[in-house]
Subunit: 287 residues, 4 copies
Amino acid sequence: MNRIRTATVLTHRRPDETAEAIGLLLGLARQSGVVLRLDLEETRKHGLEPGPGLELDAEVRLDVDICFAMGGDGTILSALRIYAGTSVPVFAINFGQIGFLATIDREEITDGLTRGFAGDFEVLALPGIEVTGAGKGRWLAVNDASMHRQPGKRVADLMYSVGPDEVGRVRCDGLVVATPAGSTGYNLANGGPVMAWGVEGYVVSFIAPHSLTARALVVSPHDTLRVNNCSLEEPVDVTVDGRPVCLLAAGEEIEVRFARGQSHLAQLPGTSFYKRLREKFGRLASP
Amino acid sequence: MNRIRTATVLTHRRPDETAEAIGLLLGLARQSGVVLRLDLEETRKHGLEPGPGLELDAEVRLDVDICFAMGGDGTILSALRIYAGTSVPVFAINFGQIGFLATIDREEITDGLTRGFAGDFEVLALPGIEVTGAGKGRWLAVNDASMHRQPGKRVADLMYSVGPDEVGRVRCDGLVVATPAGSTGYNLANGGPVMAWGVEGYVVSFIAPHSLTARALVVSPHDTLRVNNCSLEEPVDVTVDGRPVCLLAAGEEIEVRFARGQSHLAQLPGTSFYKRLREKFGRLASP
Amino acid sequence: MNRIRTATVLTHRRPDETAEAIGLLLGLARQSGVVLRLDLEETRKHGLEPGPGLELDAEVRLDVDICFAMGGDGTILSALRIYAGTSVPVFAINFGQIGFLATIDREEITDGLTRGFAGDFEVLALPGIEVTGAGKGRWLAVNDASMHRQPGKRVADLMYSVGPDEVGRVRCDGLVVATPAGSTGYNLANGGPVMAWGVEGYVVSFIAPHSLTARALVVSPHDTLRVNNCSLEEPVDVTVDGRPVCLLAAGEEIEVRFARGQSHLAQLPGTSFYKRLREKFGRLASP
Amino acid sequence: MNRIRTATVLTHRRPDETAEAIGLLLGLARQSGVVLRLDLEETRKHGLEPGPGLELDAEVRLDVDICFAMGGDGTILSALRIYAGTSVPVFAINFGQIGFLATIDREEITDGLTRGFAGDFEVLALPGIEVTGAGKGRWLAVNDASMHRQPGKRVADLMYSVGPDEVGRVRCDGLVVATPAGSTGYNLANGGPVMAWGVEGYVVSFIAPHSLTARALVVSPHDTLRVNNCSLEEPVDVTVDGRPVCLLAAGEEIEVRFARGQSHLAQLPGTSFYKRLREKFGRLASP
């Protein structure tokens, strides 16, 4: 059991879809004596007025007991990213199409939130991948990091190595490095494998590879992957969890490492990755 | 036999690689009484001086008897595009890595050019695909047309239809429509099939499709394909033979049609698509 | 309009599922003055008694005006095979899961059969592929021909050539050659492309290829494919439309040719391949 | 360093290819005071005569210090299987085409064997997968276990579950479960990912899946996979490391578990999985 006293609330950008859920959340918080914290944007989006157990226009704080995220995989990912590196669990309610990362679906919200406020859930620690680029910075990906050629430019020419060993050089639109949690997203779109959430390792796949021998590679968690932009002229874009973070000029490289236990996802007992996989895949299949 | 009197010469952007070949070409042209036409850029690139049988700083003319193209697939494609819609054959000498479209490899250049000037070759007519966008223009692709999401934006949401029938809707990085000649390029990188050059039809494949049911589709040459940008907000880039041609705003669509006999490629007797496939695929396989 | 006087009836092996439809068929036949012909097996399966407009325990005749097939793709395929090479249209009612080849679904049966007896339908001619094996025989495939290694034996080692040119040599579990109509079956399971029914050509794909460069190839309808069993010792099984037809010993080869207009499928106006594709693919996607 | 006193010798079935290597092995053994043990088949195959440091016509013993295996991946696999569950390292010399599992290539044999006899090598522990079938037995796979439909029979209908959760049901030719070491074999032929040797987990891929949503799945090493033959009638063959082990009747199921540290492969310092991957993939790519 987890003792819950303060909670951050994050919602996606269509407040009319989550209005009823916000009402429910406020009621349950009051009953449970939990203080809800909503930042400036959330406060305005939902037109909230001051009241007991509400901290409005609040700064994001990392010492809350839980974060409720209502939205699709994008919103849930944002919540996981904010609390990455802390032990704050993200309790996610799916308001999107797939909701692979969601704790509960919106149909289960009353029961689900009641359990959430009671601390009656399990916490699953998810690994991330750490990306560092020569002097450019350091980023943590919860789902994936990717590199892309720029539009209208030649195909990217990427060499990838693990430890001291070059593995291959691929002309392609780009490359995706995914965590197990991210494996069902961009990686899967490239023909990469689904990785169950307990697997230790991360996976590299290629976007539109011109090399016929380029195959998805599951890298050991102990090994560092380096990707070098071998183009003579053209930079590639580097993206972390779908957001651009830097350019990699011709000849530059990034390093990618596995990082254990970065994010924490609330899970109801009885759910499992495999069950989730079965349910969500039906939704990915619609024509 | 084809009677050759005038020829256009096009080369790629590294003139030192083609210098010897240009010398050979000039000599053979003089012997054969053929007038070579080189435009301003080619004239300067090779430092050519006026002489008999040479038209320098020349405008591109469509009534020549042949076009010699020296370079990789990009240069050959440019030549095919310039002479698309005419009956001028492109005689291509491979100075690139793969050279799928090349008439001869550089090792065969002396014999090859001698045959070229003598008109001793076959001509293979290649289909193109015609792309028209609502009020935006009309373009002919020799290899392929593609649509891409913009960098840092959400995945593209594309609906494709053939004739009156919607076939599918796919969230993806983009979509490629290729001719048989283009099928071994970007289409193959997406897992699309190789199409032999005599096949009547064109092929649609998807770049990083999130829909698990998206599969490459060979469309009948009699049918028109329409692709609609179903995104609520974001435009997609439209590219023809690798060059950006227009933006397709949310809700807009393009039409794609098969167009018979648009380009003409010189072929030495005894070559065939299948032989070429075998030779070139080895080069695509290098790690 | 097609004038209908005699009809063959074929059904799948679960007569209770088609009992109601058989009743409807008999009624409509009597009303329309059409003679129904059912062979010994069909007669017994449905417990039919002699009556006006019924030829029971009948030999299969190729000079009927139509063949009604009720079942899944297997039954429809059998009907198309029986009447391949004739102009008898197969009017197929889907009692299976996918029914890619069906004229109508079972929900549309009353309207559909009424149109069928009235001859109010279009006829779509489908190409086949002809398989000949060194001295072993000649077979026509409506959907596909395949070659497989034998269970517990080493992987097959197959060389494939088109015309005089070897294209590749692949170590694999087997190889599938499919018509456009067959492209959505076994070929698709191997990652081969969907081919619209108007496309002229046939497609080769590989079952579990160990060669990284093996890719699906759409062959021109003018070209003959040869597949050679390059194994030093082990035979491979040859299968046509899912039925074993012969063994190919080490060193032997088969030839495959495109054969236009072999089968004839009844189609209701307004249906199209692409519409069908959209409807049926949803059924292939269920987890 | 590993102290070497007794060694088993295993070679593939073409003794003329390994004759010179056997001569070298005998010489080095004599110099190093190591006793070589060869079984009846090996003794006859190489025409060996009794001599010092040779135990001919020997029973296989599991308490030797090393096993020298000369051959392709099949021979090396046999050696690993014989010594699975013990700590005896297999020192493998590649006489086959790919030799993914080999310690050294044949060109390095003199240096390599000298190091082998001196015990100057590292030992890499490889996981296996344990297969158990309802009352049928228990088998250990070093590379992979697979299930196949029988030739000429309908496609297999397999349901797979992990722990208590059904993941999917797939109509297919079969299914492959591979260890990391086996991932570059049959699994890769099915489009499964390459798994680096340090990755903890095992991978399921499908042979010619008719379900469009079937994707390769990397299972957590803590989870048990069950595969059920859902066919109403037809059995499927179960194969372990390429050898048939049992039939699974309609309705029956097998269980698969990850088993740590089952086999031990000798490795020269400086080699790595990724280096090996790069070298061997070139050989898999040849047309």
